[in-house]
């Protein structure tokens, strides 16, 4: 029994009571190569996970306050800032891989975490790689420490990267995106109250959303001259799951007015030729085509002198837990799709 189990990747989940941890659990209990070793939750320790993630009524897993430091991989599903603190207080083995789902280590300026008091009383540095598999698959395979991208950032990067990479003169993207309520997490607030949010819409953090940093960083990484502006208006939508984003750039102001739609679509198809989870649709798309899946679906149109890209993902899957598992698969040499071919539910 033990031996049989030991072939599987032993997984720990920290911050186990949140929405993202719930999606990790829903996914990993069916993943053919993993077994869940512990689900850490300070506040719910001792409870069955099904008391919080009530759809997991067939699982006997129990929240724990103990961390197994010899685990193969640990997913950190903590609030922004808390991952750093957790890693400073809890040491893992040299071989333990870490996937952090907060924004603590996404930016180059934050990517190195110095751990001072290790067992051997030596300094240790963890260097995180930005976990967007569509551009950093090779680095992810070689790294133990992954900073999983933000949900808006994933949808927007996957929509803007190919064109920006191929046409470095692009100076500006106009981006608009709506997120479902699960993007705001489980905390109760006016804007997560059903009576308020139902049938309602609102803008938040226009032009200054915290995901802009990682988007800029990736765009510059694929196009060193990119000094462009990303004008981003995020909105709260009246739905639970998903991100629906539109982004356009004016070809004229970018001296690209002679580009045909076909050339541009080719640029996208070529960019994603090895990416199993990014698909280009030749028809207009709608959000529910990707809900409960790990896909990012893109639609690209040239209209007048503009290129419009529509991009949608499930914020909890490709925007969080699914992408984390995709990264884990890369780290462990598994096909990226392993355990991620979910039945969509569409309606």
């Amino acid at each position: 029994m033990k031996n049989k189990k030991s072939n599987k990747i032993k997984v720990g989940i920290v911050g186990g009571s949140g929405y993202v941890a719930g999606e990790l659990l829903r996914s990993l209990i069916h993943h053919p190569n993993t077994e869940i070793d512990f689900v850490y939750s300070h506040s719910h320790s001792g409870k069955k996970i099904s008391e919080i993630h009530t759809d997991l009524f067939v699982s006997d897993l129990v929240f724990s306050q103990k961390v197994n430091s010899e685990i193969d991989i640990v997913f950190l599903c903590l609030g922004h800032g808390n991952s750093t603190r957790f890693l400073l207080e809890n040491e893992f083995s040299q071989t333990t891989k870490i996937i952090d789902l907060s924004n603590d280590f996404r930016l180059n300026k934050d990517k190195i975490l110095k751990l001072k008091n290790t067992r051997q009383n030596q300094e240790k540095e963890l260097e995180f790689v930005y976990g967007l598999p569509e551009i950093y698959a090779q680095k992810i395979k070689e790294s133990n420490y992954i900073a999983n991208p933000g949900c808006f950032a994933t949808a927007i990067q996957l929509g803007t990267l190919p064109l920006t990479a191929d046409f470095p003169t692009i100076k500006e993207w106009h981006v608009h995106a709506l997120t479902g309520s699960t993007g705001a997490g489980q905390s109760l607030s006016e804007t997560t109250h059903f009576s308020w949010r139902n049938e309602n819409l609102s803008v938040y953090k226009p032009f200054v959303h915290q995901h802009l940093g990682e988007i800029h960083q990736s765009l510059k990484d694929v196009s060193q001259n990119f000094e462009g502006q990303i004008n981003f208006i995020p909105m709260r939508g009246n739905f639970t799951r998903g991100i629906f984003a539109t982004m356009y750039t004016n070809l004229e102001s970018n001296n690209l007015e002679n580009m045909s739609e076909e050339e541009i679509i080719s640029s996208y198809k070529n960019f994603y030729k090895d990416a199993p989870f990014v698909k280009i649709s030749d028809k207009p798309i709608d959000l529910k085509q990707v809900v409960n899946t790990n896909y990012c679906l893109l639609h690209i149109q040239k209209i007048e002198n503009k290129i419009l890209v529509t991009s949608c993902i499930d914020n909890l899957v490709k925007g969080a837990a699914g992408q984390a598992i995709q990264n884990m698969n890369l780290q462990f040499g598994l096909p990226q799709e392993t355990g991620l071919t979910f039945k969509a539910n569409y309606f």
Copy 2:
């Protein structure tokens, strides 16, 4: 200016930041015979009401911590139990009418409130009348103190009273009703979280809902022999406004099997012949027909040996604020409909 205003009914609202108070404000600012004197809120004193009821952006009213004890009428929109406390601590003039929207004074056993320390150091008793205008209009006109019915109780009583009154042998009603999220108030909880409630359904307090007391009391009042059972399953619906209730009784077990559908519908039409806000539909009904109105819409069918009554109201209007205004109109000798002919929004 002052003189002109003094012809209007001066209104105070206590507990002004809740959903029901919001509906009272939305309604009363357009009521032709009222002017709002104060909106009492302990926690929001000093703020404009539009900071809380954000759709009332054209109003300059400000929450106050001061109560005008000489007011013509005060609406108490406090949590259950708090109305009693408020009235013990705040004395009003002899002529001030009080409409309480909590369940503090609805039952006969609770209908008298003894106030000990009045200005003249004398005991005073306030005797509340149950404010369902469709059966107690005369009493309401003659009383200064009204206990406004509960929302479920309104929908269910209006659906069961006529048949129960006319056919005292009825022994049992099977009642099922769904309420919108505003029925649970503004407090944040798991079941009011958008991510949870959206697209979801659940039962609560089956067979033991607190409104059963007032329903039984009214049914007994119209049918002295009524010893019947009311089997009531309340549910939380995934919508914001409204109550949709079905209720049926078996004619056979009640020895009424020879009653025709026409006779029964006549019984309802006759019962409500003077009730401006109860309408009998000869077609199946849907909830949105009454949303944002003060109507109760009923549909009555005889199917096999059962009578099925479908009843729907807006929980915040006919189920709370609208009914309170209807009671106020009665108390001040105004037509019941005054200020209550709202444009529905249907969609």
Copy 3:
């Protein structure tokens, strides 16, 4: 009785079974100065209006196939193109005012309708005025024939007009707006099917929406040099009522980088100082603040070097029926607000 009635404005509604006609009916049955003379519907002639507009169960009005050509005012709620045909086939008296809610007469190039075969066998021309009261109130008062603006066009114009008027150097607006399902009318289609639209989002007609024409026309009218681009992405939202629009312009590229937020907000407040239905909020806004009202609510922010305007309206009220009544009020010398102070429902 007749005499008493004759003081009221006699109204006819053509195309009476659609959503917009329903909103006109809901509104006009409570309007203090109107009486509904006929509700024309070819397909439903002879039915009670409550069979189609099922929330109007208290109304005894019946759809008719007869048009009263001596009516004081007629509202045309027909599909685009059908208004022209209807007016060619149905002649009205010289004094009958006409408010057309289609896009047949909104553009200057379409604003004159030639009627060939009039009673006196003379040619007659109807010249339509674009019915946006916030800029054309005076013209509307003096005209018998009004082309009521489109819903998207209303929300976007009210958000862009003041800045464009005051600062003629503006070259570009980036506009994004979501509309509720009632914007698509009653016709059944894949995108109006509940199973599809619920929890879903999609783009339609990006950059080429038919309302762009009227928006450009008005912007040029307030700013003769306006040669700007309006980049407009319309979306289908998963809600029934309302339009929520964001629009921004880059001050830098418009040589306006020194403008302060205060100056710009002042520009808006000044522009709308006599407009009873446009309000500037100093806090971020949400769609439900205006649902079931005739208000347009605006929020204006300077962020970095951009001005962002958020604008929301109820598509069926300020975006259609309410604005039509506002125009009627102007035409008949009534205060604009008459009959339009609806109780909002917020939730």
Copy 4:
């Protein structure tokens, strides 16, 4: 390649463009033991299935008008009445298994289909077994022809069967259930229009729903003396997926007043001890716990003298396509859960 494939069950789907066929496709493309041989659709022949089931954008399957009569199993997803016609017109091999998802063969009186013109010019009879695995697993294993239960019928039978079986004196169940919009299929109608259905509720076919026949049949099968009444009120809910049902019986009128809650829950647990997809929750349940899964979740309470059972399923999964696959698994000797352990999406 061919050989490898031939180990898999070859599946045909008839009526491939509907919601249920979509769910079958979503499920079967990930089922480890099946390969899809044809997807028959008269109206969409030649189109890719992803043109209709737009979330299946990674599939290259194409709708066909040709039926492979040597297929291992065919699922009929046709409208009620059309399965009979299809089978009369299309002959399958002796070994082809058929799972019909309409109500054509569910009742004992309909369970035998006589095929007149077979290849050998002989009469042939297909005898269908009612495909509720929780009571008929053995029969299903042994039969080639399965009549898959209705969605309401599944939720209600799984909630009422154990108690009815163990306590044959039960005379009456009071049942109330809401269904999502996908239950009504893809056809466009007033009640499937988003503008109508959103935030709305309505009753349909009270006490006379067509699923009552199969429910009665099963209850009599487990309790031969069952002559009870099932009072069933179905409702249209404002959500897309799921059935939420409550059902209660009065222990007193059934002479069972001494039964404890524990005894009754034991009765249910024992009844379902071998049923992998029926779970008993010891806490109140909500609909989303089962959405996009094949589970039926039950909660059982004794309250006063009544037993209340709450039952919920996904109407398209356990109520249709999932249950059909569960039946297929039984027919082919596979574990019932094969290919049915979907990641739920909860929110």
